[in-house]
Symmetry: none
Subunit: 196 residues, 2 copies
DNA sequence: AGACACGATACATAATCCTAGATCAGAAGT
DNA sequence: ACTTCTGATCTAGGATTATGTATCGTGTCT
């Protein structure tokens, strides 16, 4: 079973993992089952072309046909853009966003009293602030903070806040546990446009 | 069934046709059946990923995963090479002459086996076909093709074929290098127009 | 320890790919 | 007219994919 597609499926997996998307989450977005994705990624089964397209599109990738001669050029193009920053040192306008978020949390604590969840959020934000985030990760943070902003006044903010805290922490963990020296995904993961 | 892969399969078909390869010839090289290829190309069936890879590799194409963001860049790269210069325009009576010539070459390859020279001629013809030629240039091509026609049956066609190949390539190079189109596409693509 | 999310695996069922033939109409070449 | 080559279709049958659901072991977070 020396599949010639192993390189492609491996790339897809790298991108998925680098983006912090679980097989289950991906399966929803792509319209496939988790078990299906697992088998594809581990090379236990050869996907149909359309399944693979569904899967990669959900990862913000496009499957393209390139003349063999141009493969090296395309590769270098992709790699160049692939790892623009990642953790390397920090930031910029994001700082403002974090500052705003931290102020918001403080205000919430003042208004409704501290809660474990709010503490957790505060904590995690402090951590995330000094890590340089990929575009995708930053997008996630942005979304979560936007949600926090939206629900701050709501009556039943509690469960939402809890969910946000969880998500932030999950992101933190994925970064903290990312294999130390090796794991730069070698592939792109930035998308970054479109907010919804 | 609006498959999301139709664009890819259509592209593959274009390349196949542009290369003058029949479905049957391709089916041999790719290890698939002709009927299979027909159905894939006409969108009547969705190929498996590995079938599609077999098929495209036999066409000197690679299936690559590209971040959506880079798609336009890659596309322009690919187009730059696909269209060496293209004085654009013109599908005229010359087309017929070229078609005939290409068939002739194919026949020769079939009869006497491929040779580097025949390959070169085939290649060059494909290029010249889409270029708008001056009367003088066209005259030259006409003469060369006539010679090819004349000597095809000859015992010692080899040196003649070689000479024709050389002359055609010289013409091609003069056209390809004349155009000042772009300084440097940043990714050189030299499609082998160096003389040998 | 208990709860939970992760990926891997198992299994039955449905769906479809893919092969291996043969055939057919159309375009070309002889 | 006859031959040859092209791409499109058909038939069957065997192989593989894909779904749905459920479970398992591992690790992490409460």
């Amino acid at each position: 079973m020396s599949y010639q597609s192993e390189s492609l499926t491996a790339q897809a997996r790298e991108v998925r993992e680098a983006s912090g998307v679980s097989q289950r989450a991906l399966s929803e977005r792509a319209g496939l089952t988790q078990s299906h994705i697992s088998q594809i990624e581990s090379g236990k089964m050869e996907p149909g072309l359309s399944s693979f397209i569904d899967m990669t599109r959900a990862l913000d990738l496009e499957l393209m046909l390139v003349p063999k001669k141009l493969v090296p050029a395309v590769l270098s193009l992709v790699r160049a853009q692939a790892t623009p920053d990642m953790h390397i040192h920090a930031g910029q306008p994001n700082d403002k966003r974090f500052a705003r978020a931290e102020r918001l949390v403080k205000k919430l604590k003042h208004l409704y009293g501290s809660s474990a969840d709010l503490d957790r959020i505060e904590d995690t934000l402090r951590f995330l602030r000094r890590v340089n985030l990929s575009d995708q990760e930053m997008q996630l943070v942005r979304d979560l903070l936007a949600r926090l902003d939206r629900y701050q006044a709501s009556e039943q903010a509690a469960p939402v806040v809890r969910d946000i805290a969880q998500n932030l922490q999950r992101l933190r963990n994925s970064i903290a546990h990312a294999a130390p020296s090796e794991p730069r995904p070698a592939y792109a993961l930035d998308d970054g446009d479109e907010d919804a």
